[in-house]
């Protein structure tokens, strides 16, 4: 088993784990963690794709690696925005989870 194959398993498992957290965790910040887990799993898949593309004297295909770097920065920005939203929400409304939002439709009755 090569490191790449192993990384493929880790990546897939991370996606699964993150997805589970995203689905079941009621707190927004835990959902953000879940999203980041899935994200890193996806990046790992890019990583093994890069590794399998080793050629021309490079240990890994540089194009997917560059994409991962871009992706990490984007994921960070997303987390920052999400965190800012969560904190602001707590500030304005007190503790709120995404579950309790179903009342919002009829809030202005």
């Amino acid at each position: 088993m090569t490191a790449a194959t192993l990384a493929g398993f880790i990546g897939s498992a991370l996606v699964g784990l993150g997805l589970y957290g995203l689905i079941t965790d009621p707190q927004p910040i835990r959902k953000i963690l879940g999203f980041n887990l899935i994200g890193s799993g996806v990046f790992l898949l890019f990583g093994i794709v890069a590794r399998k593309g080793a050629a021309a004297g490079f240990a890994a295909d540089p194009v997917p690696q560059a994409m991962v770097i871009t992706g990490i920065v984007v994921a960070f920005s997303a987390s920052a925005l999400a965190i800012a939203l969560v904190l602001r929400l707590y500030e304005v409304a007190g503790p709120v989870s995404l579950r309790s939002e179903h009342t919002s439709n009829k809030a202005e009755k």
Binding site: L22, F35, L45, G53, V63, T70, L85, V96, E101, E108
Partner: protein, 503 residues
Amino acid sequence: MNAAPIASASTAGGSLLWLAIILPVVGILASLLSGGRHAERIALLLMPTGFGIAIAIAIFLWRSGQPLVYVIGGFNPPLGIALRADGFSAVMLVTTALIVAAAGFYARAIFATPPGITEARAPLTFWILLQAIWASLNLVFLGGDLFNLYVAIELLTFAAVPLVCLDSRAETISAALRYLLFALCGSVFYLLGVALLYGAYGTLDIVLLSDRVSSEPVVWVAAGLMTAGLLAKTALFPLHLWLPPAHANAPAACSAVLSALVVKGSFFLIVRLWFGVLPNVPHEAVSFILAALGSAAILFGSVLALQQERLKLLIAYSTVAQIGYLFLMFPLVQGPNLWVAEAWSGGIMQTLSHAFAKAAMFLAAGLIAESLGHDRIRDLRGIGAVMPMTLFAFGLGGLSLMGLPPSGGFLAKWLLLKASIEAGRPIWGAVMLSGGLLAAGYLYRVLAPALSSDILHLKAPPRRSREAVALALALTAIALGFAPKAFFDFLQIGRVAVAGGSS
């Protein structure tokens, strides 16, 4: 499909493509840098310019009859990135430019920096994010590389989410958060698919991929993930959890852009995916699922629109329903059949007419809410007498949603209906018709009391120029109903024939 158009050479007019993207990007940077009132000025200044560019792209496209291509940095795909414009892109560019500009002019009243202050929060962010939506949509419509498009949809999300909660109420922030998290789920699914496609074929360029892909497991999984991710961002039923609160509670100008354009961005990519990247992969069953979900969306969204007590929520649920229509074109655009062009035109026409109609309706609803201080439907009796122009705009938009002539919505429905019959799949046509009935139902709930002769007092009458913006959008939706045949020929430019499915 053989001999895909040469992907790797910039065509005449190709420079316009990057210009269409860079221009609003420069606007964003300049707005943030100069701040304050300048942001508004920069945005309003760039809008006509951007519209001119969109029109120029359309003209070049019309003259050449071939997709426009621009290769960025001179590095041909697969290593580099290409931008491409076909008929669908071009009309979406023009539509985006128009609606963004309309929302901008409409929003001047709300998002003006108050006198005496050099800079205020909501105005600055609004004008920057409006340009950002515009930039990212242009990128979505022009991008020729799947990863580049990933960046585009992320940009779109980042621009759209804060617009939802500019008013800092708990419910809008909560809606924005839900929107962001779900949209992020969607993007990460999309990115997963991108990784798999790159791993299998070593390129992400749409045209190159379309030649290389074949129907094999990795493509199935990648396509499933990418489509599902984009569906989450399009809010197709049952993935619509974020849409009603976000669209209904955002400021009207933002709702208009979100409902009319932003959800269309990810829809556009689904179309790109199946008809641009995977035309050689048979997908009858996929189309069936998409259309079935679309049908469910029509039924669900419409019935729920009937249930709403607030005008903006009603319109938001109507968006849930109207998104469903977009997906009815999928099973009809299959194989080298005669009706394919019809269904394609119908699908695009639905996209365009819904964009204009829905933008008009949200803007009108915003005026109503501002003038009355609320948007409770049961308290709208007699609004027609005091705000006739606004209600007229709303009604015309509704006309198009119902699919009554003369309107773009009617033409779209007609084309799709005819195609569904010719394709021997009248079920999708029947769905469309019943959706029209339900739409009539929920619009009746608004229009009938609004037209009654009760006396209603306004807190403040709406500004005529803002009413005119809403009306102009509604009239555009109507004018689409008079589109000449040449327009439909234009939409076919660059359409790739889809394999299989010759019933």
